[in-house]
C-alpha cells in the first residue's frame, strides 16, 4: 500500500499543477496589483503644463474625488481614450491629467516646452479636453513614485488624497463599468 502511494505521487503533483495552469490561461500575465493602493499621493511639486509658472502639490487632490489620467500626445492609445474621458468629464467627473513627454528628456530630449504645449492644444481641440488641468511631470519623477509603467494609466483618488485604484491601459466603457463605477459612486457618496 505504501508503495502505491509513492507511485501515485507524480500524478497527484501533476493534477495540482494543472489547476494553476488552467487558471493561468484565463488571467492576464501582465496585470498586477499596484503597491501604492490606500497610500496617500506621494509629495511632489510640479508645474502646470500650460502655465508653467503655476505649481501644484499633493494637496491639490484633497476634498474631491479625482481621476488622475497619465497621458502624452505621443501615445496612440491615449488618443483613443480621450473622447471617452471627455464624456466622463461632461457627466461631472473631475479629471486631472498627468502629462509626460518622452522627448523632453534629460538623456535624449529634443523638444521645447512651447512645442509640447502647442501639440497638446491641438490634440485636445481635436479629440476633446477632459482635463480640469494638467500636471506637467517634467522628469517623470511623480510617475515613477506612482509606479507608472507607461501611458495611458488612470488612478482613482478619494477626497482625502488617497489612491484607491490604479488601472494600466486605456479607460473605456467596459473598464469603467467593471472596475471603476461602484468604487467611484461609493467615494462620491462619502464626500
Amino acid at each position: 500500500m505504501k508503495k502505491y502511494i509513492l507511485f501515485l505521487l507524480p500524478l497527484v503533483a501533476f493534477v495540482g499543477l494543472l489547476v494553476f495552469l488552467y487558471q493561468g490561461l484565463f488571467s492576464d500575465p501582465r496585470a498586477h496589483k499596484s503597491s501604492l493602493l490606500e497610500h496617500t499621493m506621494p509629495a511632489f511639486s510640479l508645474p502646470d503644463l500650460m502655465q508653467t509658472e503655476r505649481q501644484y502639490s499633493a494637496e491639490v487632490f484633497n476634498g474631491k474625488v479625482t481621476l488622475l489620467n497619465v497621458w502624452g500626445v505621443w501615445c496612440i492609445t491615449c488618443a483613443i481614450e480621450l473622447p471617452y474621458l471627455t464624456q466622463l468629464q461632461q457627466e461631472g467627473k473631475h479629471i486631472v491629467g498627468l502629462y509626460y513627454d518622452q522627448d523632453i528628456d534629460p538623456d535624449f530630449g529634443i523638444k521645447t516646452v512651447s512645442r509640447v504645449q502647442q501639440e497638446v492644444t491641438q490634440k485636445l481641440s481635436q479629440l476633446g479636453n477632459p482635463y480640469a488641468f494638467n500636471i506637467f511631470d517634467v522628469k517623470r519623477d511623480l510617475s515613477l513614485d506612482l509606479g507608472v509603467t507607461g501611458a495611458p494609466e488612470t488612478f482613482l483618488i478619494d477626497q482625502h488624497g488617497r489612491i484607491r485604484l490604479h488601472h494600466i491601459g486605456d479607460l473605456n466603457p467596459r473598464v469603467w463599468k467593471n472596475k471603476f463605477e461602484v468604487l467611484y459612486q461609493e467615494l462620491v457618496a462619502e464626500q
Partner: protein, 664 residues
C-alpha cells in the same frame, strides 16, 4: 491549390496517426502479427504526408502566396529567399508544422531502424507515438492551421518576418531544439510500452538508450544555439536569462541528462527501473509543458508566440491525456518494476543515482522558479519575479555536490567500491584542480571566489576523467602488453562518449565561471573619433553612416580596436530599422576568440549627436557553447557503440551478469 493540397495531406497524416495508434496496439494485445506489421507502413505514411504538407507550405512561401494567412503574416516579397524558407517556422502555426514534421521523422526512424527489437515491442512503441501524433495533428488542424486562406480579401504584400528571426541562428536553432524536444517522445514511448507489456527485465532500457542519447544530443546543441543566438542577436551581451521559455527548454535537458545516466544504470545493472521509467515520462512531459508555456501566452516572456486561450486550452487538454495518462499508468504498473541487481553504498550505482537526485532537484528548482510566480498570483498574493539572482544562487548550491559525485562515479566500480582505494586519486584530483584554479584566477585583477570555485570544479571533472581513462587502460597495458595508444583504441566508443560528455561539461563550466566573474560591461557616450578604453582594449568609433539592406535601413557604425598600439580588429555594429514591421534591431559587432570576445553595440543617438555605445569584453564566453558541442558529440559517440547494432546481444548470456553467476 498548394495550400489545399497541404491541408489535405495533414488530414491524411492525422488519419495515418489514428490508425497507427489503434491497429498495432490491438495487434500486440491480440498477438496478431498482420495488425502489428501495419505499424511500419502507417508510420511511413504519416511521415510522407507530413513531409508533403511541409513542402506545400514552403512552396507557398517561395511563391509569395499572400492569400495564405500564415504566409501573409510571416513573410514579405522583399525577404531574401533563404529567410523565406526558414520563415516557415517563423510563427506559431508553421513552427508547429515543423514540430509535427520532426515528430514524424522520429517515428519513421523508429519504424525503420528497429529490426533488432521484437515486433510486439515496436508495435507498441509506434502505436504510442501514433496516439501522441494524433493529438498534435488534431491541434494543428483545429486551432492552428498554417494553410488557412485569406480569401477573398488578401494583402498585396506580407507583414514580413520578425527581424529578430532574420538571422542565421534562426535557420538552425529551432530545428535542432525541436529534434531534441520531440526526440524524447521515443524514450517516452519505449517506457510506456514497457509498462503496458509488463516486461519486467530492462531490455527496453537498452533499446531506448541510443534514441534517448540522440534526442539529448540534439537538445544540447539546440539549447546552446539558442543561447549563442541570444548573445549575438539581442545586443545585450547576455547568454542566458532564466526566461520562462529558456527554462522550458532547460527542464527537459536536465531531466534528459538524468535519464541518459539512469538508463545506463538500468541497462547494465537492472536496478532503478521505475525511476528510469518515470524520468522518461518526465523528460517528454517537460517538453510538452514547454510547448504549452510558449504557445499559450500564460507567462510573460521575450520569446512567446501570440497568445490565444483556445490554443492553450487545447494543449492543456493534450497534457491531461498524455502526461496524466502516462502518470496514471505509472501509478498502476510502476510497482511491478523491481530491481534485481545488488550493490553496496559505495558503488557506481549509488553515485550515479546520487547525481540523478541532484539533476532532478535542479529540474525541480527550474520548474518551481518558472511556475511559482503564476501560482503566487493566482492565489492572490500578488505578482513576483523569479530570475537570475534566485537561480544563480540555487545552481551554485547544487553544482558542488553534483560535480563531486560526477568525478567520483566513473572512477568507482559497479556493485562495490573500496573507498580507501579511491583516496589517493581523489586527493591528487583535488590538489591539481585547486592549483589550476588559483593559478588561472591570479591573472585577473580582482580574484573572484565564484570563478575559483568554478575552475576548481571544472578541474576536478577533467582530472578525474583523465584518471578514469588511465585506470581503465591499466590492465590492458599490464596484462596484454599494449602501448598507450593501442590500449586507448581498445576503449569502446561509448566510453569515449562518456569522457567527451564530461569534458564538455567542464569546458562549459569554465566558460560560465570566467565570463560571469570577469566579464566587463561598459556603457559610454562616444562621438566620431572618440576612444574608449576597456580592459586594455582601445575602442575607436570611426564612423556612423546610413546604410541600406535588402529589407531594412541601418545606422552603420565602424569601430577599430587597438591593444598596446596595435590594431586588433575592426568591428561593425548596426542599428537596423525594418519598415514593414516598424521594428528596430541592434546588430552587434563581435570579434570572437578562444580567450575573449570583444562586443560592441550601438544604442540611441543622444541630444548632442553622441552615440550611446555598449562595449563588452567577455572572457572565455565561447567555451560555454563549445562545451555544449563537445557534450553532444559525446552523445553521438555513445550511439555509435557496436552493442546497439547487434541483433541478439540482449540475450547474449556472456553480457548478462546475472546469468553469469551474480544472481543468487
Amino acid at each position: 491549390m498548394l495550400a489545399e493540397l497541404g491541408n489535405l495531406a495533414l488530414v491524411m497524416a492525422l488519419l495515418m496517426s489514428l490508425l497507427l495508434a489503434i491497429y498495432p496496439m490491438w495487434g500486440a494485445y491480440k498477438e496478431h502479427p498482420q495488425l502489428m506489421a501495419m505499424a511500419k507502413p502507417l508510420a511511413i505514411g504519416m511521415f510522407v504526408f507530413t513531409a508533403f504538407a511541409y513542402g506545400c507550405l514552403t512552396q507557398s512561401f517561395l511563391n509569395d502566396d499572400f492569400t495564405v494567412a500564415y504566409v501573409a503574416n510571416t513573410s514579405n516579397s522583399t525577404l531574401p529567399i533563404y529567410y523565406k524558407i526558414t520563415a516557415v517556422w517563423g510563427g506559431h502555426e508553421g513552427s508547429f508544422l515543423l514540430w509535427v514534421m520532426i515528430f514524424s521523422i522520429w517515428t519513421v526512424a523508429v519504424a525503420l531502424f528497429s529490426k533488432a527489437i521484437p515486433i510486439k515491442m515496436v508495435a507498441r512503441v509506434l502505436a504510442i507515438l501514433g496516439a501522441v501524433g494524433c493529438g498534435f495533428y488534431l491541434f494543428m488542424l483545429l486551432t492552428s492551421n498554417p494553410f488557412e486562406r485569406l480569401l477573398p480579401f488578401f494583402p498585396i504584400d506580407g507583414r514580413d518576418l520578425n527581424p529578430l528571426l532574420q538571422d542565421f541562428g534562426m535557420i538552425i536553432h529551432p530545428p535542432m531544439l525541436y529534434m531534441g524536444y520531440v526526440g524524447f517522445s521515443v524514450a517516452f514511448a519505449f517506457a510506456l510500452a514497457a509498462l503496458i507489456s509488463g516486461q519486467l527485465d530492462s531490455t527496453w532500457a537498452r533499446w531506448s538508450r541510443p534514441w534517448t542519447l540522440a534526442a539529448w544530443s540534439f537538445l544540447t546543441v539546440g539549447v546552446a544555439l539558442g543561447s549563442w543566438w541570444a548573445y549575438y542577436e539581442l545586443g545585450w551581451g547576455g547568454w542566458w536569462f532564466w526566461d520562462p521559455v529558456e527554462n522550458a527548454a532547460f527542464m527537459p535537458w536536465l531531466a534528459g541528462t538524468a535519464l541518459v545516466h539512469s538508463l545506463a544504470v538500468t541497462e547494465k545493472r537492472k536496478v532503478f527501473k521505475a525511476w528510469t521509467v518515470l524520468l522518461a515520462i518526465a523528460a517528454f512531459s517537460l517538453s510538452l509543458l514547454g510547448t504549452f508555456l510558449v504557445r499559450s501566452g500564460i507567462l510573460v516572456s521575450v520569446h512567446s508566440f501570440a497568445s490565444d486561450p483556445s490554443r492553450g486550452l487545447f494543449i492543456l487538454g493534450l497534457l491531461v491525456i498524455i502526461i496524466g495518462g502516462s502518470l496514471a499508468l505509472f501509478a498502476w504498473r510502476g510497482s511491478l518494476l523491481r530491481g534485481s541487481g545488488r550493490y553496496e553504498l559505495m558503488s557506481r550505482e549509488v553515485l550515479l543515482m546520487g547525481n540523478n537526485v541532484f539533476l532532478t532537484a535542479a529540474t525541480l528548482v527550474v520548474l518551481l522558479g518558472t511556475l511559482l510566480p503564476l501560482v503566487h498570483k493566482e492565489i492572490g498574493l500578488g505578482s513576483i519575479s523569479i530570475g537570475a539572482p534566485f537561480f544563480d544562487q540555487m545552481f551554485t548550491f547544487l553544482i558542488v555536490p553534483f560535480v563531486f559525485f560526477m568525478g567520483l562515479g566513473p572512477l568507482s566500480r559497479w556493485k562495490n567500491q573500496n573507498p580507501q582505494a579511491l583516496y589517493k586519486q581523489l586527493l591528487l584530483a583535488f590538489g591539481l584542480s585547486l592549483s589550476a584554479a588559483l593559478l588561472i584566477n591570479f591573472n585577473f585583477e580582482q580574484m573572484s571566489y565564484m570563478a575559483v570555485l568554478g575552475i576548481l570544479l571544472s578541474g576536478w571533472i577533467v582530472v578525474t576523467t583523465v584518471l578514469e581513462v588511465l585506470q581503465r587502460i591499466e590492465p590492458l597495458r599490464l596484462n596484454n602488453h599494449l602501448s598507450l595508444t593501442q590500449s586507448l583504441q581498445k576503449l569502446s566508443p561509448s566510453h569515449w562518449g562518456m569522457v567527451s560528455g564530461h569534458l564538455g561539461f567542464a569546458v562549459t563550466l569554465i566558460g560560465i565561471s570566467l565570463v560571469s566573474a570577469y566579464g566587463i560591461e561598459s556603457n559610454v557616450r562616444m562621438a566620431i573619433g572618440d576612444k574608449a578604453e576597456v580592459q586594455g582594449y582601445e575602442f575607436v568609433l570611426n564612423s556612423v553612416t546610413e546604410a541600406q539592406g535588402p529589407n531594412y535601413t541601418a545606422e552603420h557604425a565602424e569601430f577599430e580596436v587597438f591593444k598596446q598600439g596595435g590594431l586588433v580588429t575592426q568591428l561593425v555594429a548596426e542599428k537596423r530599422f525594418y519598415p514593414v514591421q516598424r521594428n528596430s534591431m541592434t546588430e552587434a559587432g563581435i570579434d570572437s576568440g578562444i580567450t575573449r570576445d570583444l562586443f560592441v553595440a550601438i544604442g540611441e543617438q543622444l541630444e548632442n549627436g553622441d552615440w550611446a555605445i555598449r562595449i563588452y569584453v567577455k572572457p572565455f564566453i565561447n567555451w560555454i557553447w563549445a562545451g555544449a558541442f563537445i557534450m553532444a558529440f559525446g552523445g553521438l559517440l555513445s550511439i555509435c557503440d557496436r552493442r546497439y547494432r547487434m541483433a541478439k546481444l540482449a540475450s547474449n548470456p556472456e553480457l548478462m551478469p546475472e546469468l553469469a553467476g551474480a544472481r543468487q
